[in-house]
Symmetry: C2
Subunit: 194 residues, 2 copies
């Protein structure tokens, strides 16, 4: 019981931070706010974390990792590009759904990371985007997709996926498979040759 019910302090700090950063933004959330939410003194936070930015770092890179993990099956698959793309979209939506608060922080506050971590973050994100670029490129070469600008399309695709965190409430029972399916349908229809 202890293990599942009593979260360790560090987890507790991170989860409270995810929620507060999402609500007010990283810069506008103070360590005092955060400590108060947890019910300890501000200075006590530093027994568990090194700095405010470390929390942001933890959140951003954990989500990045989730994205890579979730898309792994797709990258090794040999299916056609449209099927792969749909699967990649559903995976992406699933990560957002399962980490709505953390994703919001990842999405909105990553720029408050400082170097060298910032560059690391940016290149991880680019790497992830490249997986999608690759799928689209492949579909283009196979003639499955109409001619289009890949970079532009990928960014449009992500932008229509990434707002979804507004939609998912922790209590919500919306189905990522359904939403991802609808979304990729809406997108693929405009992208499929015929």
């Amino acid at each position: 019981m202890a293990d599942t019910v009593t979260k360790d302090r560090k987890t507790q700090i991170t989860e409270a931070a995810q929620n507060m950063f999402r609500e007010k933004g990283y810069s506008a959330t103070s360590m005092r706010d955060l400590a108060a939410r947890i019910g300890i003194e501000p200075a006590s936070l530093y027994s568990h974390i090194r700095s405010k930015e470390e929390i942001l770092h933890t959140i951003c890179f954990r989500i990045a990792e989730e994205f890579f993990k979730s898309i792994k099956d797709v990258t090794t698959s040999t299916e056609s590009a449209d099927i792969k793309l749909e699967k990649a979209i559903v995976s992406h939506v699933e990560v957002i759904k399962n980490n709505a608060d953390a994703f919001a922080v990842f999405y909105n506050d990553w720029r408050h990371l400082s170097e060298p971590v910032l560059s690391e973050f940016i290149s991880a994100r680019r790497e992830y985007e490249n997986i999608f670029r690759g799928i689209i490129q492949e579909g283009l070469e196979d003639g499955i997709f109409k001619p289009m600008d890949v970079k532009f399309t990928v960014l449009t695709l992500f932008s229509s996926l990434n707002w979804l965190y507004h939609w998912f409430k922790p209590s919500g029972k919306m189905n990522p498979k359904e939403i991802g399916g609808n979304l990729s349908n809406m997108i693929l229809y405009g992208m499929m040759n015929k």
Copy 2:
């Protein structure tokens, strides 16, 4: 010459703020940073503005106004829903293109507005979104668009429009009509019946 070359201080402050808020976010930009950029003492800012939030207020509501102005022709038009939607999209993209910095602030930092202005902002935004909802609803009833969830579709639509500010550089000569056309093509193709 004086009128066009020498901007009054208030304009200068607002423009510098748009750029800095966009770059670092509203909360992370200090009035001292802002004053330094302009080359005056921090206290001197207050001869021209009442508060930091007033600047944010000015930016956000000016952009809101631009959006309403730009879509006016569309709302009074009697064309079919798909044509109206495309025009609305192009107008929207045009506003973003002509106000990239200010739009970024409008889009990312509106939540730092405080009441009662915050509620006013939210309802203005809803009103604008309702114009798009209306067009889609109409196209739905006319059978031009496939059956779909209007609210979901409008949000997806906006999300794929609103990331465009990352794209537009002040020096850039990208054509909003082209981009808006492409985008609405990509979207409409998935939305048109057949």
